[in-house]
Amino acid sequence: MGARSTTRLFSTTARKLASPPSISTSHLPKFPPKESLYVKDREIPTTPFDPEVWASLQPPPPSSLSAFANRIGLGGVLCESKEDVDVVLQACTHPSFLHIWQHHNPNGGKTPQTNGQLAAIGNSLMGLFATEWLRATYPYLPTRVLKAAVTAHVGPLTCANVAQEMGATPLLRWHRMRETPNKPALLHSDALASIPRSLTALVYQRRSLPSARQFVQSYFLSREVDIRSMIKFADPKKALLEMINKLQRERPKSRLLKETGRFSNAPVFVVGIYSGEEEIGQGFGSSLKMAEYRAAEDALHRVYLTRVPSHLVQIPSQTFPLGLGDVFRQAPEQAYTAPELVQSEIMYASSGKSFS
């Protein structure tokens, strides 16, 4: 009974699909597998054959891998020839797959290639591209918000979603790992997230850094991220005062611009915050305090969400030379004009942990 439950655990977790797995067998070198055939009077007893487990160990057909590569626009990059889809399979194989593979191939054989190292390289590259692009696009963004925005663009949740949108879910080969004292549990989304990271690393290896940046730009940095909701304050009036002092403007003054329904059950107040004669923020609310809070938030958002137009964005990694090859080769640098430094962020709530 114990052996049965382990095999069921392996079979249900190795390939997570809504319906029971049905694989095509035309690409397999040997079918039906030897261990599934009945041998009369076998002397050495063998474990009972589980077709679901066997199915989850087989690689996906090469046609699905080449279709995947073409779908994401990397047909020419990854599949040098029609038959060469090994690198795509490697990108879709999580290191946890080796556990289940070695369990069922104790004699060894050709160990499948995994995407552990590729995912690590790709993760670093994606972090680099996202950070420099966000800093160049939003120069006034506070550091804690920049970090959160980088996570939103290229973090584990987005990577897993992108992998699903690419259609890589049936191609993923992995094995669910239980939580140990040294490592957290491995989830399906973590395994899926390794696929786009490996693809980024492969684009860098097979083409160049600018090509990898283009890949990340088109699939990750063009996604919709709500940065406004990440900029939160416990006391926006205090933050605004500090910012005004830093920018050496006149002290902020809030003025009631419009109101309606005072003392009724649905009042609306419109408050504007002024620095001298210039209105720097406006907010509405059902109470005077709420409207003033929102006005202060609006003033801070107008500063923090200042965006550089995309044609004027200058990023440091654009200095790497164009053309095939890695970043270490000797070639003429590309042009780069450093943007002017803006004032540093205010100290209030600048720690990553505190919001008050």
Binding site: S64, N70, R71, R223, M230
Partner: protein, 144 residues
Amino acid sequence: MPRLPPVQALWRHKLGSSPANGHSSFLPQIRKLVVEYCDVWPSSHNTRTFLLNHAQTLAANNPHAEVVVRQRPFKEPILRAFYANNRDKVIGLNGLEVTQIEKKAQLLLDSSGAKIKALKKPVESSTPAARGIYSNLHAQRPSL
């Protein structure tokens, strides 16, 4: 000054983004197109003709979709398409001519796999109104 309520911290595992397919690059949503036919029954005759004459060019022209041919013995022929949102669409090919089968295949290749829902609003958008929402507090007062 009364203490303001604490602000919710940003949880890393919840920080995500919304897809914007087509803004920068386009991901076709179809993964696989399966043509299931029967070798014996006459209802699959047109499907067999389609497979012999048009299936290969269809697969070559759509490298992003995996085209699979499958036997469906003693049943009516169908086209089944699998999409990136883990849904599949099935079209029966019984009674269709070869040109109609081609059109159905193209329909499946163009589809996104999303469930067909009735549109209740005239405009659906993820961005706020381009012209702005009317505010009578900000409207121009009539002047005499």
